[in-house]
């Protein structure tokens, strides 16, 4: 277990520096005029130019720029956006609703994936199973840029079942439609993985043993098979967090939810370099830390890893 954690931690640290460096270098390296690159196509005043140069140490080498940037970032100092607002404050204002939205989406997706995936695997080849497969195919083919606006139009506007937009303190209900939309970005893959893994486990020898022990089918599946099938699903959830972040960028924009995603989308639109880099770096960190947590959870589920 200890060795597993250490190895994962080392890998994560490496990935972390690699990933943040890539993001950073793209923003700052090899620019004719890095200040202009940060500010997009807007004209830059002399004072802003001076402030940006000082903030990002643009007069020094790339590695030392990166060093200053990372030490600021890791001490919680994200600097100011082009429009002069504290990036840290922007992030603080926007993360709670995004976390709520993503958690709702994740729970909805996982619950659907488990329920339908297990049932599909038990009834392989049935009408239900084929229906589920067709449904996941459809979901995979519906990019979120299609689904979010269309769902908003149909369910938020035409039918009026849900609010078409949500505020910072949106209720559970107001977030439900965007959360459902966001859930579609991950549910299809989760469902297919669950189905495959349950189907494979159902044929395992230990299932025969469990039945020979006189256990009820329900217990065989939900206790013996499921715990084994959760292992690939949990691994997938680590990846899905990244997909959810990507999805939030679109979903929050469409539903006007003032979360991290829509703030970032706004930063992109207004070509606010410092804000985009700041947000993206923080999100990359969050993603990697969450993946480490998922890895630990994975070890908790699979004793063969824990004792390796």
């Amino acid at each position: 277990m200890f060795r597993y954690i250490v190895r994962r931690l080392l890998q994560m640290i490496l990935t972390f520096f690699g990933a943040t460096f890539v993001v950073f270098a793209l923003m700052f390296a090899n620019q004719d005029d890095p200040v202009q690159a940060l500010a997009g196509e807007k004209p830059v005043s002399a004072s802003l130019r001076e402030a940006l140069t000082e903030r990002y140490h643009l007069d020094e080498g790339l590695l030392s720029q990166y060093w200053y940037y990372m030490s600021n970032l890791l001490t919680g100092d994200l600097g100011e956006s082009i429009s002069g607002r504290e990036i840290g404050t922007l992030l603080e204002d926007s993360w709670p609703v995004t976390v709520r939205l993503s958690l709702m989406a994740l729970v909805i997706a996982a619950a659907l994936a488990l329920g339908a995936g297990v049932w599909s695997a038990i009834r392989r080849g049935s009408v239900f199973d084929n229906g589920i497969l067709a449904f996941t195919l459809l979901l995979l083919a519906l990019p979120i840029v299609v689904l979010a606006p269309v769902a908003q139009w149909i369910f938020g506007m035409e039918l009026g079942w849900f609010p078409a937009t949500a505020s910072r303190n949106a209720s559970f209900y107001a977030l439900l439609l965007p959360a459902l939309v966001l859930a579609t970005t991950v549910v299809a893959t989760q469902l297919r993985v669950t189905r495959t893994s349950v189907a494979e486990n159902l044929r395992a020898d230990y299932v025969r043993t469990a039945r020979a022990k006189g256990l009820a089918p329900r217990r065989v599946i939900w206790v013996h098979v499921l715990r084994n099938s959760l292992i690939p699903l949990v691994t997938l959830i680590g990846v899905d967090l990244g997909v959810l972040m990507s999805g939030a960028l679109v979903t929050e924009g469409v539903f006007n939810i003032p979360g991290v995603g829509s703030k970032l989308a706004q930063g992109i639109r207004t070509e606010d370099g410092p804000m985009v880099v700041g947000f993206v770096s923080v999100l990359v960190i969050v993603f990697l830390v969450m993946n480490l947590v998922v890895d630990l959870l994975y070890a908790a589920l699979d004793p063969r890893i824990r004792y390796e």
């Binding site: 020898d205 039945r211 022990k213 256990l215 013996h224 699979d302 004793p303 063969r304």
Partner: protein
């Protein structure tokens, strides 16, 4: 504990004086995309308390399928029991409702599998998998179930049972894992134990230990033991009777001494000739020539005829040879058993 046994005794038709286990004319087939595989074609045998019956046969002849049919854990579909009876104390288990059938499993009839590593659930501790039996079947409390699990591990002689109870299957050695399997099967004091090649996956020394343990536990509890194997060497020491299986049928059934002394079926004879014997060291092994038939196309008449040195015209024609009474308590499905016996 007694109340569950009492509940089970309410199985309609249960007769304490009836034979412990009796399988009559069992037929099992697998309906797959490639056709219907007739895995068991009229197997019949019986088992008494305290007795060891060895079921012997080449790979694929339907031994495991028969065991799974008795346990009621055949995978259906594709497996279907198309004919026959499985009587436990007079009750035909095939006619019993599934909920009652489940209570027979592990409580009355239990099973040990060949590969203990894959037969145990990798993500639960050995303690959990043992305690589960008491919790589900006996409604035992967590602590109670755990202490009984430790007792069981002690009984199958796992050293330091108390601390090993929290270990996972992959942390045990092969022999220890098979002991865990045995403990699991014996947890609820079954009357019938089916051991499907319990030692095939182990080294020779460990094999002997496990067989010794099984024999001892069987004696203590006066259980009926069905020992499935394709190793004639193992059988000689422990079995009372032997049923030889070929292409889903029992072709010869006899007390172990008689079979070794004078096989009545050419297939049994060939099997015996294929075991390496110390006194014939250096001589060539006679393997049985040819292959067992495809279960989708079993030959007409005696299924063994394409490989049989004694085969004559009647062997190639239906019906298959009946179970001739060779001697009291001894049958063989061969038209020419007298010739084989050398009479």
């Amino acid at each position: 504990m007694t109340d569950i046994k009492a509940q089970l005794d309410v199985l309609p038709g249960l007769d304490p004086r009836a034979p412990l286990l009796q399988v009559n004319d069992l037929h099992v087939e697998f309906r797959t995309r490639d056709g219907v595989a007739k895995a068991v074609n009229g197997a019949s045998f019986w088992l008494n308390p305290g007795e060891t019956l060895a079921i012997l046969g080449e790979s694929g002849c339907g031994k495991s399928v028969t065991a799974q049919a008795i346990m009621g854990i055949l995978e259906t579909p594709p497996g279907h029991i198309t004919r026959g009876e499985i009587r436990y104390r007079g009750v035909d288990l095939l006619k019993v409702r599934e909920a009652e059938r489940r209570r027979v499993r592990a409580n009355r009839v239990a099973m040990i599998f060949q590969d203990a590593l894959s037969a145990l659930n990798p993500v639960y501790t050995v303690g959990f998998q043992l305690a589960e039996l008491f919790r589900v079947h006996r409604g035992a409390s967590r602590a109670d179930a755990k202490s009984r699990a430790i007792e069981l591990l002690d009984q199958v002689r796992i050293p330091a049972a108390k601390s090993r109870i929290n270990d996972y299957p992959h942390q045990f050695s092969g022999g220890m894992r098979q002991r865990v399997m045995i403990a699991m099967a014996l947890a609820l004091d079954p009357e019938v134990l089916i051991a499907d090649e319990p030692t095939t996956a182990l080294d020779v020394t460990v094999q002997a230990q496990i067989m010794g343990l099984l024999a001892e536990l069987q004696r203590q509890r006066n259980m009926g033991l069905i020992l499935i194997t394709h190793d004639m060497g193992v059988v000689a020491d422990v079995a009372d009777r032997i049923s030889v299986m070929y292409a889903g049928r029992i072709v010869e059934e006899a007390p172990v001494y008689d079979i070794y002394a004078r096989p009545a079926h050419p297939y049994t004879r060939a099997l015996l000739e294929s075991i390496p014997r110390l006194d014939l060291k250096g001589q060539q092994l006679t393997a049985i020539r040819g292959l067992p038939p495809a279960l989708t196309a079993i030959p007409a008449g005696c299924a063994f005829h394409p490989r049989c040195g004694y085969a004559k015209e009647p062997c190639r024609q239906d019906p298959a040879p009946p179970a001739y009474a060779v001697a009291p308590r001894r049958t063989a499905r061969c038209h020419f058993f007298r010739e084989v016996l050398g009479e």
